[in-house]
Symmetry: C2
Subunit: 218 residues, 2 copies
DNA sequence: ATTTAAATACATTCATGCATGAATATCAAT
DNA sequence: ATTGATATTCATGCATGAATGTATTTAAAT
């Protein structure tokens, strides 16, 4: 074939990306050839190489279109800070809703989560995953500490305990649901977050005293 | 080279398996060739084909040596049933301890979790993952229901809510820790489980009334 | 006329799986 | 204990196929 208009070229690019999502989602990232993706997109391999350097580059372009859960959960630097817990709740529910309702988002996320190999050869996405995870923890910690300062959480709550539990529970529910979406994620998620926040306020098992823990200075 | 004694042959097999763990853990399952694994094991590809049919077969042999978290979490059909909550607690802590202390176990688990592609071409491991997940949910539900019957949890606790939250939280913490093992999993895990069980007993957000939910018949 | 999207053709690389062969372990028979 | 036959582990070499990346060509848009 021959040259298309600029708009057509962009559309071709999108078609390739969509085809790649479908193929990667069904067969993983490593196995399928570019031929397979090209054919599903209705073009030849030449077109793919015209838009992307190689499969890794195509994969990166795909993942750039979505936010990872940790990125979505902990984006802005908690504006204002008047209601940290409300902020946390809002963001969690937003994430649950987005994952549940946006099919395309979900499929890309499923590819990253369980249909690609997080190794150095996939440097870009590996980096994003680990860094967003770490950054998520950091932001979550700030939220929790702000909540303590604001009086929304008890003084003697141990962030070293609360943060990983909170993070693991929310992200864990999300991942679980992706594996087996047998329930209403938004409803269960809402209840989870509410119950967890309540738990942070009241549970003696999350206090600093329990086991020896580096006592927060100041 | 030539034939070895039976024991030597078994040792060769083990060496190949260990080499495969190392290679898969570092570079993922799909990329490395059998040559790479053989060389690390100090043999040639011929030896690998002598012990395993192909890479997929080798990978299966690897994963057969460990239990998945859900398998470990929900093995026996809850013997006796006098103390369901204690049973649940015990199993969770056992899992946390095992993952934290057994390096080999952990590496294989990390391969399954984030260094292989869970697609139909990897049928065996995909099946194990999805089935153990489902079975884990089923067993967890039985435990929760038994706990309600035994009076350890409130009558109006909604298992449809409690089970996914419990499962997601525990498995989520485990997965989180594997990504970034920056804390003591056993300590945080213990506190998490204790706080969660407490939460199940007291939180109004996990009751049946909240939103319309299929009322458990009888 | 020139530029560019996309097809086509081609060379190269590489992993796989198998067939073959070497050399020792194992065991039965003496 | 020695010998001989057999089985078995592992190395080697080869044929095959497939995917990749690039170079070249085509033909339309500007």
């Amino acid at each position: 074939m021959a040259r298309r208009r600029k708009e057509d070229a962009l559309e071709t690019r999108e078609r390739i990306l969509d085809a790649a999502i479908e193929v990667f989602h069904k067969r993983g990232v490593s196995r399928p050839s570019l031929t397979e993706i090209a054919e599903l997109a209705g073009v030849t391999r030449g077109a793919v190489y015209g838009h992307f350097q190689n499969k890794a580059d195509l994969f990166i372009a795909l993942t750039d279109r979505i936010q990872l859960p940790d990125e979505s959960l902990c984006q802005a630097p908690l504006h204002g800070g008047c209601d940290p817990l409300g902020e946390l709740r809002k963001r969690s529910l937003f994430l649950f809703r987005e994952v549940m309702n946006d099919e395309q988002y979900r499929r890309v996320f499923e590819i990253i989560l369980m249909r690609c190999e997080l190794v150095t050869e996939n440097g870009e996405i590996l980096k994003r995953c680990t860094e967003s995870h770490a950054e998520g923890d950091r932001r979550l910690r700030k939220l929790v500490e702000a909540a303590i300062t604001a009086g929304q959480l008890p003084e003697d709550l141990d962030p070293n305990i609360a943060v990983p539990i909170l993070h693991g529970s929310v992200i864990g529910l999300l991942n679980d649901w992706l594996i087996n979406p047998a329930y209403d994620l938004v409803e269960v998620g809402t209840r989870q977050v509410d119950a967890l926040l309540e738990m942070l306020q009241s549970s003696p098992h999350l206090k600093r005293s329990g086991t020896l823990q580096a006592p927060a200075s100041a």
